[in-house]
């Protein structure tokens, strides 16, 4: 396949084109994704998350510059709506990042966050795989750490970084709920602000309270000032040390397997979603079912879900899910 060959030979425009196909859910994108799977599994996948305003994008830029100095090639996938990579931030941020945009060993891609039917996580995973197969040593995914989907994406990275900043409790509270468990490295950015030591102390206390098995990775808490690159070399040391730790303890394969399971679930969910939405457009069955669910309240959603699965299975294949099912029977 031409697009695939061009990707493997290092054609940036092919990489961009493939990710667009994936985002738009074109069948051609899926074909490329299948082909390139053999070429994946070489990149170190780093997820970076945190509340809006914590300075994630500036941190990603600073980390990228440091990694470039160490000779690494980088792919960046931004699914943070407030990220300058995604187009959300102020003009100044974007100008400050122009050096990255013109470096041929840095590939930056933003992903839409509006995808319906759970498509964001699936498309992000596919984009990571494209950049992995494209030969990037390190793929960084930037998300806002407030949503379940976004947390899930970072959770399945090899190394998850949670970014916070000095502040009055809210930031820490936001971290507390759910993402404390997923962080391999914690960063207090904007460390020149007052209260940074208190925020560090609070974070370390929370981490000490959380139970970890004997011999497990002990998540470090680092201070950075991303705008002046302070603390960035130490952060990069930690990122690489964590990857080394995963490799040495045979945990990388385990992480990869968890990620692949999550990917498959996303794919299945998306196909089911598409099948149901196609039913809604094409099929009188759904009109009747929804009438009984909403107008007369005879059928509850749990029963409705069961009926839909049965209906999809019993009716001739004219969509992805049914093709999926019938292909191998």
């Amino acid at each position: 396949m031409e697009l695939f060959d061009r990707l493997i030979s290092g054609d940036r425009r092919a990489a961009a084109r493939i990710i667009s196909l994936i985002e738009n859910d074109e069948p051609e994108g899926k074909e490329v994704i299948k082909l390139l799977h053999r070429h994946t599994g070489r990149a170190h996948i780093i997820g970076i998350t945190g509340a809006p305003g914590a300075g994630k994008s500036t941190l990603v830029a600073a980390v990228t510059r440091e990694l470039r100095e160490r000779g690494k090639t980088i792919g960046i996938v931004a699914i943070d709506p407030t990220s300058p990579f995604t187009g959300g931030a102020l003009l100044g941020d974007r100008i400050r990042m122009q050096d990255l945009a013109t470096d041929k060993d840095v590939f930056i891609r933003s992903m839409g966050t509006r995808g319906s039917l759970g498509g964001v996580a699936r498309a992000t995973n596919d984009a990571i795989n494209v950049l992995d197969a494209f030969g990037k040593d390190i793929v960084i995914v930037e998300t806002v750490g407030a949503g379940q989907t976004e947390v899930d994406i970072v959770k399945f990275a090899h190394t998850s970084v949670v970014v916070t900043m000095p502040g009055g409790g809210d930031e820490i509270q936001a971290i507390k709920a759910g993402i404390l468990e997923i962080g391999d490295i914690f960063v207090v950015n904007k460390a020149d602000r007052e209260d940074s030591s208190r925020t560090m102390a609070e974070l370390m206390m929370m981490l000490e309270l959380s139970e970890r098995p004997e011999g497990a990775w002990d998540p470090p808490v680092l201070k950075t000032i991303a705008t002046s690159s302070e603390g960035i070399p130490q952060l990069v040391d930690c990122l690489l040390a964590h990857y080394q730790y995963l490799r040495e303890n045979k945990l990388l394969e385990q992480k990869e397997k968890e990620r692949v399971v999550a990917e498959m679930l996303e794919i299945i969910n998306q196909q089911v979603g598409q099948a149901v939405h196609r039913l809604l457009r094409e099929d009188g069955y759904m009109t009747d079912l929804l009438h009984k669910m909403v107008d007369t309240r005879e059928i509850d959603p749990h029963t409705g879900a069961r009926l839909i699965i049965q209906h999809l299975l019993q009716n001739p294949p004219n969509n992805d899910l049914q093709r999926t099912i019938s292909n191998g029977q």
Copy 2:
């Protein structure tokens, strides 16, 4: 069923117990949900979302007090990790809301945000239905508007409120990406801060740019100071006017149907997730499949997803998905 009878007769402890059963994904919870479906469809479901720090919880509390004065009974479902209802906020916030906690016509329930396998959206929808069947006139759902799952939950409310506050662009940017489309009412809270007029103007400009069909609801932009209840009566007027608009234009049924479709998809997704995770624990098939996907890279995730569906369909029923499928064949 005793628990169901107690709910319908107005027993608060039964309502709390049922929601706990749902959260823990107990089969008994599902049974009650099926029974109570006939008793739903009467409440006005209001979704309130926005960035952390915008003052959503204080706004929810103020709106609840105003609605109580107008004789309405209220259910609140908080899935915002920074909400005082969920336990995330500072002690002061929680003390300020104690009057609500002791009002027998206000039922407050927080939902965990850690649920895996897409369970948060499903559990939230079920909790809304419990409070609807419990007889609450209005059910308010509070979420943080940064994640896909959370936006989806609010999207399927009858009336969606997007809360922002005066500020330097970030808040507006965060709104821009995805939730501008879903808001039926926009609120600039903390309107005593400087810049509130500029934020109002920016919001109104963005709304004017977005295309809406002729005769469609024109989303108002309101100023509030939730801490002193300023602007709250006007907001409540708008909330009730929007519900009236939906009813008069026969749009309520349409919204209900969209919500029920989303609910069914959540249920299906969760069952597929559970089935796959059970396979992982019980079945040598998965060990082999994952070996071929990660270690040798022979099988890509799209093919893996197809193989898993086929495997689930071809093997004897010992989980929810398979029971679902085989029950009706």
